[in-house]
Symmetry: C2
Subunit: 235 residues, 2 copies
DNA sequence: GACCTTTCAAAGGTCTTACCTTTATATTAT
DNA sequence: ATAATATAAAGGTAAGACCTTTGAAAGGTC
C-alpha cells in the first residue's frame, strides 16, 4: 500500500486561532496588559469568522489569560498571569473517581505537611492570630454539638496563608475542593472532632514556636489519622 | 444614599450556559459517556443563540470535559474525567513571573522528594530498567560533551512513573513545563552534569533497594544542590 | 441471500449580517 | 463652567444559511 497511516487531525478553526494566540502570548508578542486587536480585526487578520475568533477568546478568557471589557476604551487585554491560571477553574467537577481520590489524599498529605513546615518558619503575628481564631471557632462549634468543620477548614487555610507560597496555597485549595465530600465523611466519625481539635492545638503551638520539624511531624500524624478511616471504607 | 453597592455582575450568556452545564455534569444529570442534546436543541432549551451555546461547549471541550464528533452517531459527549482535566492545558504560558518561579521550585522540591520516596516503595522491575536506561543515556551524552538534559529528564520521569500516583506524575509534568527554562540554565553551569549523574546513580540505587528514607534524603539533596545556584542569580 | 453502491439526514463546523449594549469622550446647550 | 446629549468603537447576541462528515438505510447487482 502506498497509503501511510493518517494522523490527519483536523483542527477546528477556533483551535487554530487559540493555538496561535497562545503562542503569541508565550513568545511575548502580546504581553501582560497589552490590548489585542478587536474581534472584528482579528477576524480580518486570521481570515476566519468572528464566531471562531470569539470561541478562541472565550476559552483563553475562561482560562484566565484574557479579559474583555465593552464600551469605549474596552477591548480584549492580556491579564497578568497568576497561579490560578494553572489550575483548572472547574476542578470541582471531579466527583467520585475512586482511584483519583486515593491519589489525591496522598497528594494532600504531602502538601499539608510541607505547608505546616513552612508555616512554622514564616508565620507572622497576623497568621498566628488567624489560627487562634480558627481554633476558637472549632472549639465553640464542637461544644455546641457541631463537627467543627468550618473551624477545621479555617485552620488549614490559615496555615496555607502562613506558608507564604501561593502555589501551595492554590494547590491546597484545589485538593480541598476535590475532596470536600471525603472530608465531611471523615469528620462525621464519632470522636474525630475532639481529637482533631487537639491536633490543631498541638500543631498551632509548634508553628507558633517556629518549630518546623515538629510542625511537620504533627501534621503528618494528623492527616494520617484522619485518612486512616477514610481511605478504604467510605467510598 | 439609597444606593447599595452594586455587585451587579452581568454574566455573558455563554457563561450562564457554561455554569449550568457544569453543574449538570457535577450533579450527575449527564454522566460520563452520556450524550448532550445537539447544539440546536440546547439553543432551543436555553433560549439563547447557537453561538452562545458553542462558546460554552468549546470551553468545556478544551478543559477536557466534553468531546464532539460530527456525522451520524456524532454529537457532544461527556468524557471520562481524568487528572489532566485539573491542570490547565496551557500551563506553559507561565513564562517569567519571578516570584512564581521561586514558589514553583519550592513546590517541585517537595514533589520530587515524595516521588522518590514512593518510588522506592512501589517500583517494579520495569521501572528499574527504565531508570537504568535513563542513566545510561545521560552518561553517554555527557561523555560526548553534552549536558545530559534528556537523560536527566528521563530519569525524573521514570521515577514519577514508578511512584504509581498519577496526581504526582501530572503535577510534576506541569512543574517541569513551567520550569523548563530554569532547568536548562541550571544544567549549563560548569560541573553540574557530572554531579547530577552521580546523584542520579545514588538515588537509583536507593530506590532499587527499596530504601525509601534514603531515596527521599538523596533526592532532597539533589534538588537543593541544583536549585542553590538557580534561585537567586539566574533570573 | 450476500455484497456493493447510492442516498439521506442529523450533527457539528463555519460564515455573514444585523442589531443590541456599554461606556469614555467629544459636542452642545444652558 | 456645568450639565445634558450625541457619538462611535468594541464586545455581546441572534438568526439563518451553507458546508462537511459519517453511519445507516434503501436499493440494486451478482
Amino acid at each position: 500500500m502506498d497509503n501511510k497511516i493518517k494522523p490527519i487531525k483536523k483542527r477546528r478553526l477556533s483551535e487554530e486561532v487559540l493555538k496561535k494566540l497562545q503562542s503569541m502570548i508565550i513568545d511575548g508578542t502580546y504581553k501582560t496588559g497589552d490590548q489585542l486587536p478587536s474581534e472584528r480585526e482579528l477576524s480580518e487578520l486570521f481570515q476566519v469568522s468572528r464566531a471562531s475568533i470569539r470561541e478562541a477568546l472565550r476559552v483563553l478568557g475562561t482560562l484566565g489569560f484574557l479579559d474583555s471589557r465593552v464600551g469605549v476604551g474596552g477591548g480584549t487585554f492580556v491579564k497578568k498571569i497568576s497561579i490560578d491560571a494553572l489550575i483548572n477553574p472547574f476542578s470541582e467537577i471531579l466527583g467520585n473517581e475512586k482511584e483519583l481520590i486515593i491519589e489525591m489524599l496522598e497528594f494532600r498529605r504531602i502538601l499539608e505537611t510541607e505547608i505546616a513546615r513552612l508555616a512554622a518558619l514564616r508565620r507572622t503575628e497576623e497568621d498566628i492570630a488567624r489560627m487562634e481564631r480558627s481554633i476558637d471557632l472549632m472549639r465553640e462549634d464542637i461544644e455546641n454539638g457541631g463537627i467543627g468543620i468550618e473551624g477545621d477548614t479555617a485552620f488549614h487555610d490559615a496555615l496555607a496563608a502562613a506558608c507564604k507560597n501561593s502555589v501551595f496555597e492554590k494547590m491546597l485549595l484545589m485538593a480541598k475542593g476535590l475532596l470536600v465530600k471525603t472530608r465531611q465523611t471523615t469528620l462525621k466519625l464519632k470522636g474525630r472532632p475532639e481529637k482533631g481539635l487537639e491536633d490543631h492545638i498541638k500543631i498551632f503551638n509548634a508553628v507558633k514556636k517556629g518549630n518546623s520539624k515538629l510542625s511537620l511531624k504533627l501534621m503528618m500524624e494528623h492527616i494520617e489519622k484522619a485518612q486512616a478511616d477514610a481511605t478504604v471504607k467510605n467510598f
